[in-house]
Symmetry: C2
Subunit: 251 residues, 2 copies
């Protein structure tokens, strides 16, 4: 029979008090993911190799199969981690701005900067989630949960702007029925009130602007076009936010 303690730990997921074997196991999993993330940072996702990771850990390659059933499983774990990382970065940036008394526009700018900062610090992890999908690999459903964290932050900011009146109503409301699914409304916490009926559709443009602009800079497409990437990024976010009615600070 398993010890009462171990049963309790499992039931409550008290990861700190697991029995020794499980704790060691969890540590190795973390070590594998950390090493894999380092390799990712040098080779990119397509070149991520189980053997190379094992080598770096001082293990034989087959040993990794104790922890991940395949290369794709490891990749999935890294994707989830990356989504979580960018989500957490965004959440923290927003929380800090909010605590400092920032209005919704300023909050969103801070979130954008934070996401871009993370992208610059972890270019391959960024590419893993927001770049070209890895060929022959399709992300399982596990990743959706983590992927939605950033969307939630944006929804909170936009909702706050609608609530405190700082969101400018659209000059040209988008015609016809909404084009977003119920899933989006669920993340946003319900349909937006008048005169913001098209807000969810516009918000997706905002999110796309953040990721699209970050990618465009990250992948070097504006390399020869800009004298100051950081300053232009702020302005690009401000210009994009104008389309949604959110007013970002311009220095």
């Amino acid at each position: 029979m398993r010890s009462a303690l171990s049963v309790v730990c499992h039931a409550l997921d008290m990861s700190v008090v697991k029995d020794a074997r499980a704790r060691a196991r969890a540590e190795v999993v973390v070590a594998i993911k950390a090493t894999a993330a380092q390799h990712l940072a040098q080779t990119g996702a397509a070149g991520l190799s189980l053997r190379a990771v094992a080598r770096d850990l001082g293990l034989v390659s087959s040993a990794l199969y104790r922890y991940f059933p395949s290369r794709d499983a490891l990749l999935t774990a890294l994707i989830v981690d990356a989504y979580d990382a960018v989500g957490e970065v965004a959440e923290r940036a927003d929380a800090a701005a909010l605590a400092a008394g920032a209005d919704p526009g300023a909050r969103w700018l801070e979130v954008c900067r934070a996401v871009r900062g993370w992208a610059r610090a972890s270019p391959h992890e960024y590419a893993l989630v927001y770049g070209t999908p890895v060929p022959g690999y399709s992300a399982p459903h596990d990743t959706v949960e983590a992927a939605v964290r950033l969307s939630r932050v944006m929804a909170a900011v936009v909702t706050a702007a609608a609530a405190d009146g700082s969101l400018r109503p659209p000059q040209r409301p988008l015609p016809g029925p909404t084009l977003v699914t119920d899933a989006v409304a669920a993340v946003a916490g319900g349909a937006p009130p008048p005169p913001y009926e098209d807000l969810l559709e516009r918000s997706l443009v905002l999110l796309t602007a953040l990721i699209g602009t970050t990618s465009y800079l990250q992948f070097g497409h504006l390399h020869l076009a800009l004298v100051d990437d950081d300053a232009w990024f702020d302005r690009a976010m401000a210009v994009a936010a104008e389309g949604v009615g959110l007013v970002l600070p311009l220095d």
Copy 2:
């Protein structure tokens, strides 16, 4: 001595009347690129293999080295072709819209649709140029010329809008000196006139919105969020264009 004809052909680059050997050679180069593009469409850039391409052509792998000194050289050729393809698609769409009497806003929408249409038809070629950079490969300068074609189309549209007065002046002009390089001004045909001083910076946002939105859709990030990708794309382009002052048609 080389024949006078062949000398003339070379000097004038009359590719149709080349001597037989050169013509055969050019045809094989085209065949190699076409086959490679097909492989690209199935495997993605990272998995593009010289051996597989040669196999498909009924050649032995070493034969390809008569035509391309390395795998990277083949990749470069494909990148240039892809940039040219998207540039041409954009140019044709704009020309057609212009010929049909469209205003600048309608022209830009047509260009956006055309680029996205090309991306959907050639997803891996799109990913090759606008997705994550291929690891270990850096695009040489040859590609810049081809890459700038799309920018030129956008510049023409925006300039036309500024000229005919359909471009709304910015509500909040971007402060301070411009952040774009002279290269951008050169593509755009000079600095924009008042009250459009910040137009180049805003135009880059427009371009980023097009590519960013296309990529975001292409890579499946809005898979669960939209009920109608095409319709939302049109609206997203309209919302993004609002930030620049360009008025796109809303159906």
